[in-house]
Symmetry: D5
Subunit: 96 residues, 10 copies
């Protein structure tokens, strides 16, 4: 099942650069792993913003929630989830 | 270049069913043609709404605008365009 | 899987009362059938409004979308879907 | 009487982890007790957010307010209350 | 129990004056009856608007909903309900 | 003249409990005095929120502003003022 | 007492030009009379909009409401009222 | 040329009272000087808020911007500018 | 003086195509004339919308308002005006 | 390709003046360089605000994002990007 997820990141100004870098590094590794597993189907940067639009392909809402709350940047994110389904005009049987 | 496009459709209640069906048929054919050309990369239905989230892959903003205003349902749509770019955490060179 | 669904109904002022009554009757029958099947777990009226808050228990987003767009009142509704999951503080294994 | 309650939690970034854990533990115990008493009928996590949607079954608005302001996390919550009533299409005499 | 209710009235421009007058007359009679019964405790006009702020004193949310949907102007109103309770700083045992 | 006033209170998380308690005590005394004088006609707690809806009965906007800015909690409040007048459907000559 | 009033005018597209002109003529005469009486202290056009920002100087909210609802264009206006008072930094005893 | 300016002031809670008083004193002197020069035509307090509505009479947008950014409280203000012009229904040749 | 102007066009669905075409033709001629005079400095289409962002260079707010209300499409537009001035970081003496 | 960019700057109140000045100096140099290269076509100050409206002329969304995230003030900005295209009523072949 597909879900669109928008993530807006907001790191506290007071966070030391080293700490921020460490979290971002973990975030990247975590994201890579989920992309490679096929769970995190797409990730795009929104131009001019510290934000992304992503598409997740998961077996349940539960799984989606577990993946999202496991994000190293989760405590510093605003997240919006939109459930998607196949569009009747799509030329694909499933548009992942 | 990738752009996320959200389209909310709102057909007037007074439109005769035959007219509505004819427009939707044209819309489907138009969408199929753009999907097959690779310009309209993704189209997903938003659950519970007469709306879709799409991703277009075009050569310029001009081309995007031409494609969108050519939609048979364009006069009955609210459209929001969000410019996207490759995310530094993406495992792909381009995430189409 | 559980989804919260809020439905706001807005019948056109010009709709003849007989037509409105016929749609509402169909809506009620449709709702009863889904409630009895266990798909439409809860339905509450929001005080002072022609609107409800519901909880659906479905196997996929696809199924949810099919059920919602099948509502006789769907063309006259604004619908908002919120994906839910079990809360870690819940005393139940699943809170249907 | 039923009330839908949405709670968004926002702990200060500066709060020590031990203090946060202690409050969350108290919150869980408090919630369990109210769920077992039947006052806190439902609690669902909103996917991707540190927020829940709940349904309370109380004898009065006064009682609801007392229960909510007694939440250990209350000082860190945004709370929205929506009064509900039985929906005429419900197949139950009361939809708790 | 006390509930604040805000009602915004919006009669269709096309409604004949006689029909509008007839509804308003019924509305006034209905309102008088509820005020005299003590259920509709306060009603104030918002300056410069075809809207009112009211306070209802009812035994249940169910009763409130029945009273509000019985308003002759209900089909032409936007209604917002806010549950109230005694304020700890009030000098009255109940502030009706 | 009657004015509806909504006050949302937001004490800084860093304020010492003793300081907060002292301000709240002053606030209560100030409120009692204005209620007894008849200036602060009604005060209700909004269920689930650190906020109140009040009705003031004053001789001028100037007086209202003086009373509100004199609130010990004023620096920590968001205040919204709505001018009210007698509703033509009211059964009272003045609905205080 | 001074009140800022913002009026946004929205005449129905279907209104015959002659009818619109007649209402506007009455509106102008009504406005002139109130300006000359000193009740309608200021009226400014908002650039690029069919809207105005005005300042009224009235004896009571009641009087303000009577003046506003007497506007020939009132049924076609959205009106927002903001109560004003003398600013402590004003160099005038009253800033009309 | 006339511009409506709304200023909402928000001093940091942590600012020492002496520092706040010093800024407010400068602000008052600055405002007096501009009012006396005729540039700052009107200033009104919005009832219940630390905010004002003002009207400036300047020769250019440039001049307006220079005056506003010169406000001692400018770093602590939210400012909204609305360009005004003479209203066709005004009884004055210019409504300053 | 420079003003940014955003115009959103919304022609009634019921307007005959010939009438719409006639208005658009007049609009184009009117726009050409103002662009050639240098008053209408820039006009850009917003991608995917029947809307434009423009920059006007006028001698006064009055002149701007006269130009905008003279637009043949004015009755079908939502217009927002933002006053601009030279930016201190601009490399031009005036950025028209 | 042209993009409208709105930037709202919000420096933390706690930032030392010397640090703020240093960042602003870098920002100015960076902006000058991009203006001279023709990438940053226009920059206007919004009257009364620490904000600008700009127009960028870039080869891709990717390039736009790189330029914007390279702004020395980027961590302290809210940025909104609007894709623009040539307006059919423009008298220019390209309106830079």
């Amino acid at each position: 099942m597909l879900f669109q997820v928008r993530m807006d990141v907001n790191l506290p100004a007071a966070m030391p650069a080293a700490e921020a870098d460490a979290i971002k590094l973990k975030e990247k590794a975590y994201s890579h792993q989920l992309q490679e597993s096929g769970k995190w189907r797409h990730i795009w940067r929104i131009a001019g913003q510290y934000a992304n639009v992503s598409v997740f392909d998961v077996d349940s809402v539960e799984e989606l929630h577990t993946l999202l709350t496991g994000l190293p940047l989760f405590p510093f994110m605003q997240i919006q989830v939109t459930p998607l389904c196949r569009h009747p005009s799509s030329i694909r049987s499933t548009d992942q």
